[in-house]
Amino acid sequence: MSKILRIDIVLILAFEGFLTSFALLSSASMSEILPLVIFSSICTAATIRYYMRRRVGVTYFFLWLMIVYLIGFVRLKYWDYFSPDVLSANLLWLTAFVLSFVFFYEMIPCHSVNPRLERIMDSLNEIYGSFRFLLGVFLVYILFYAFEIVESGSAVHFVGMSYAERHDPSSSYLFFIKTLLKSSLLISAYTNFIERRSKLVPIFNLDSYLSSFDR
């Protein structure tokens, strides 16, 4: 297990090290290098710490934060839009945001279980695991698509529509409902798939065959 974790951490370190080097190579002044190093060090340390503790949300958040802001920094250096002082000031504010985030994430206890919330989670679990719900949502989803195709004129036109045509601001509420519908369908499909896969799709489960590698 320890070997496996080390491989994971080496991958995370290599990825974040690559991003940081990429940004550092683009920067020319010392006033930018220090905020860059502080920001990426805190983000890397936080990513590894929370990965080890299996905290999905915060691990993804830090990984994505580094990608967005370090590549964003490289991009701005390429175009030379802002002075080094402006860039370093914004990186420092970003670091302040990250520190505030980590401080509260660490300090505020979160062990209490809200019984009402647990009941809701139980109910949702039951719903998403229901095959009837899956088929019902699927039907609504297909009807939604049929409506969109009819509204666009033809199936060929629907496929060829551009981004702007698909995201008409006057019908953003339809997009919102469709997002919720798609999300429900996806969660339900995954839940049904995982709960039934060991019985119905044994070919996908090679655990028994590969378990010898784990010894």
Binding site: M1, L65, S100, F138, A164, S171, D207, D214
Partner: protein, 266 residues
């Protein structure tokens, strides 16, 4: 087998639709779920065909989205992914701090807009617009009919709503919210609740997109979560597969135990 076919169909429809973000969002939860499950059971080396297939598909999808995005920007050069507008959150944040006064919007982007987002604009033409779209007009001088938004970035959004103080306060609030979600994922996984685990996973992954999302408001995470739960409960009532039986008669606990056993066996 039906859930698998439905997943394939969603994948195909998202491809036809050209929804590049959705394609990645579709595959990542299953990879994360299995990695979490393997880490929990200390069996990370036990490869799983589903994860293997998802990782291969992710590589294909990421390449596909990169090409689509490059073409959309009107360039043939892949380096435009870095130098184009894909990662422009930092630039927009800086321009926001240069254009607006600290706290000028006073909660309009983070609190008001997400809360009223679902109201059709045909019913309320004066409905507020998000900061991602507002900067198109105020900073980039786009025409009023534009449907495009740019990512305002975390700093830009908190600054425009509550000034520099907002950056620190919302950093802490965001930390609190993500902590609740992360603990919820672990509790669901330990209790064998696959459905609620996936719901919380999708929210956790949504939070990772916020720094670079054109609708990158913090409350989107909360609002989407609340709307998702309400929407699912209403839909389940309409479909008729949910009658609150587990609460009144203790039914459902058996199936929960069965699910826990099944997951333990795996």
């Amino acid at each position: 087998m039906y859930p698998f076919l439905i997943l394939i169909l969603i994948f195909l429809l998202s491809t036809v639709e050209g929804s590049t973000g959705a394609l990645i969002g579709l595959l990542v939860p299953i990879v994360v779920f299995f990695v979490l499950d393997r880490l929990k059971n200390r069996k990370l080396l036990q490869l799983n065909w589903i994860v293997f297939a998802a990782v291969i598909l992710l590589a294909v999808v990421v390449s596909y989205t990169a090409v689509v995005r490059t073409k959309r920007s009107g360039s043939d050069d892949l380096s435009s992914l870095v130098y184009g507008r894909t990662f422009d959150a930092l630039e927009n944040s800086i321009r926001i701090t240069e254009t607006y006064e600290p706290g000028e919007h006073l909660g309009l982007n983070i609190i008001v807009y997400p809360a009223v987002n679902f109201v059709p604009r045909s019913l309320w033409p004066e409905k507020p617009i998000g900061l991602g779209r507002r900067i198109m007009f105020d900073i980039y001088g786009a025409p009023s009919y534009t449907s495009v938004s740019f990512a305002p970035g975390l700093l830009g959004e908190f600054y425009a709503d509550f000034g520099y103080f907002g950056i620190l306060v919302f950093g802490s609030l965001f930390g609190l919210i993500l902590k609740r979600i992360d603990y919820g994922i672990l509790r669901s996984l330990n209790a064998g609740r696959v459905g609620s685990c996936f719901l919380l996973l999708s929210l956790a992954l949504l939070s990772s997109n916020i720094p670079n999302s054109p609708q990158g408001y913090l409350l989107r995470l909360i609002i989407t979560g609340i709307f998702q739960i309400i929407f699912t409960l209403i839909l389940a009532r309409i479909i008729g597969c949910f009658k609150l039986t587990n609460k009144k008669h203790g039914l459902g606990s058996k199936s929960k135990k069965e699910k826990t056993m099944l997951l333990k066996e795996r």
